[in-house]
Assembly symmetry: D2
Homo-oligomer: 283 residues x 4
């Protein structure tokens, strides 16, 4: 890359690590929207319009917006509203953000901006599955009253998180069953040392269930087999994959565990955004 | 499945395990083409035409043919030639074989036969990657003069064999690097505990290289870094992925290791054929 | 065992799981000292003197006392003071407790009592090292701002906790170095997939240091290499193995992590007490 | 170490790797007893008496003798007989060998020689357990007709080899049970992800049994449960731990697998001898 200037607008602690990592790589970088965060105090701040003017590459956080109206900037004392002027000032820049759709669908002017969504990249998603799986393991260790070693675990789904979580739980000596639809996924899960079955053959009681599927797969029959006080860790985007009413009636404990990368590994999560942005720049 | 009759024609030891496993499941089964193999002596033999007449499902081996002209039947005292009469007698049956193309391309009459190739199923291929990876590990243990634990290994390719071999080598304490093209594959390999790089960044000397890619990826620059007497295990279908002339000039040892499932785990390999055939019957 | 009656006096949640597990095995059991804990509400309570009278085997918690003067009973509304009458009433019973020395050294009458310390059993200590190692991993996942996968970890000591923690961290894909004195321990740690060195050869910066040694091994030179904000998890009994003044001056974060089994796996910890008591009864 | 001269007398391929490794460290070194081995051709040979005269440290192989009468020197065209003159010439030297007892018990003159047995060092033994366990795994992969992944394995004994083999088999996804006497060993084996039981509770059929115990522990009841064609790999020094007559009557296959380090990892085995000799020199 040539001597590119980066501008960062909003975000949480991950973005601070992202900023520090880009600076370490030797690129000029400015931030906006972190005046309430002491960890960001060493980073060069600029007013929003100057920052945009000086930067070649603008990085927004993931998610770029939570409410659809303002940029997600929990450490900013002021709201950042992407009005028309703001969007127009981004034209000619390389713009990067996570989950951009929720923002760009609100204003047609975004069609003039050269933006890319790093969140939809497969490599970014795989990378983030690592801290997600680690965070799930920490929750399981702390919340399950027995040991993870030797515990009977069910993982529903064998996508990115399912694959990595399976490997980790098996490595730690848990007795893992993977539930998945595709026969080749079942074969892979077995190759990694787990048991594996299609959903309709899962009938046993488990100490801990990890759901990774964003549609209801943990329901009636399976729930009816679980013991009171058993534990389900919901890793999928809410509303998730658990028939909650039934589960709660059974006295099953559900722990919602979304957005783990930012919580348990903000530094790694920041590096992954950087890696994705660099890859987008090169491609 | 209803009370189906299976007929098995030709094949190696895997097929004997396949036959025993089907019988254990309670289905009638006849074999042809094993008169030279003592392990098959307890299985019910029939003349070829009677076998076909009585069977609902005919299973051929993998590969169904090696020479394109005869059924692969290393334990048969007689050649089995799939002439036109033979093919016609198969119509109305469910016919299963591995790598059927080499056979069916020789005679148009095959278009009348309801045949399926179990070898092309993804679940079958994943299953077979397990004994392949195990066989590769046994070769590495026996042929590399140091320990696998702590050895510096390179795996080229992150397909089915690459994935499973990576997990196993990492588990055994080897220092593993995976070379692959896709960024998401590199991310997965790292999540599994390996180092991972694109091919053009692989410059170091390795104790053992495992190739899983069926095109030349181990060449010039990479080979020039390897020490005399270092070891490359070729797991891809020949001609494989190694620039052999260069490698041999460098004094590198190449071990060709194809068809490992039948060699190291004939029982598991037989079970996988059964599983694939049953899945095909159900689908 | 014959139809033995168990009496349980004081303790934390582990003891509740212990009680439930003994009841599940079919033995009569009474408790005293849990009136403030709702989880214990289903267990049969008795006044202290009646409990002792009816019981063949009396189980005290671990530690049996924290202050040397009262039985450790955080969920009791009344203090339990082991006065002379109390001690005399225990004679003729099998008495079990953890870290009994601190209690029995206070009153000579204990010499009349047949007591055993389950805490000093090797199998009990090994068992407890599992939840300790798991708890340490959960802390590391939550507190280290990067991923555990790929992080650079140092474990000081290769005793029970060191051995099990090493295996778990290596399994999770961390880059682990073990520091230990004995050459055979170094050899074992390497066999398990770690790097291993004597203390005087440990000079690098680590992302996370886990101390398991109850004497100061993390000091001057080693501390001087660590980065600001690096993390040390102290698993040894306090005052532990870290030269704290030096570490804090360097801006290193120290997390004290004692008594993890009772915190992260009270059920497993309760089962281990039961297993140890049963073994003592049989021996 | 000061500028020490090493002399090497007899041994197999491990000793050649040992010699090369010492030379790489910069020490002068001479060999005797390798005239039939082409791999040794680059190493400086001397007549036996000159070699002893010039050397400060004499290294004998492991075992130093097989027949009690000659030095073990399978690649020597001449017998090496440690007669009295020979022994006397060793006085004043540092002499190292493996399993020295069998040799020194034959001649009282050895009492004048400063010899040490590197084979009895704990670190040497632990180191050698790694290639032993790897070799056992290669045998299991090649000889068991199913996959190791998912296979049901029994390890008898939890000493050096048992510990390391357990870790490796568990890592590879086998379903491992460890049989051992000490309760703390059972606890360790479970912590590493295996099942574990005392010998008298082992009643099931296993796909593969690995014996590491040099006294008969695999007998009557346990053997009676094993299937025909099941596999026992004998890793202990012969006569080993299997009631052979009973096993052979049952049609069980026994594979004797001694001295694996020299066979599967001569280079590592040579390095371990060097490490042990250096440690002895320093201590």
């Amino acid at each position: 890359m040539h001597n590119k200037v980066f501008g960062i607008i909003g975000g949480d602690k991950r973005i601070v690590y992202l900023a520090k990592s880009i600076i370490k790589d030797g690129y000029p970088l400015y931030i906006y929207g972190f005046d309430l965060l002491s960890e960001a105090s060493g980073l060069p701040e600029l007013p929003l319009d100057t920052l945009i003017e000086l930067s070649d590459n603008i990085i927004f956080p993931v998610p770029v917006t939570k409410d659809g109206a303002t940029i997600y900037a929990p450490y900013s004392s002021k709201e950042i509203r992407p009005e028309s002027d703001f969007i127009i000032s981004l034209s000619g820049k390389n713009v990067y953000g996570g989950l951009m759709n929720k923002l760009v669908s609100k204003n047609d002017l975004w069609s003039m901006v050269n933006y890319s969504d790093y969140y939809t990249r497969e490599d970014f998603a795989v990378n983030n599955a690592v801290p997600t799986a680690e965070g799930a393991i920490a929750i399981a260790i702390n919340e399950y009253e027995g040991n993870l070693t030797g515990s009977k675990c069910l993982i529903t789904g064998y996508g990115r998180i399912g694959k990595i979580l399976n490997k980790m739980l098996v490595s730690l000596g848990a007795d893992v069953t993977v539930a998945a639809r595709k026969k080749s996924d079942l074969a892979y899960a077995r190759a990694m040392g787990a048991k594996a079955k299609p959903y309709n053959e899962i009938h046993e009681a488990y100490d801990i269930i990890f759901n990774t599927v964003p549609e209801v797969v943990i329901k009636g029959k399976l729930l009816s087999k679980q013991k009171e006080n058993s534990l389900i860790i919901e890793l999928a985007t809410l509303p998730g994959g658990i028939e909650r009413k039934t589960a709660l009636e059974k006295g099953i404990r559900i722990i919602d565990a979304q957005s783990l990368p930012g919580k348990v590994s903000p530094k790694a999560a920041g590096e992954y955004i950087k890696e994705a942005v660099y890859n987008l720049l090169e491609e």
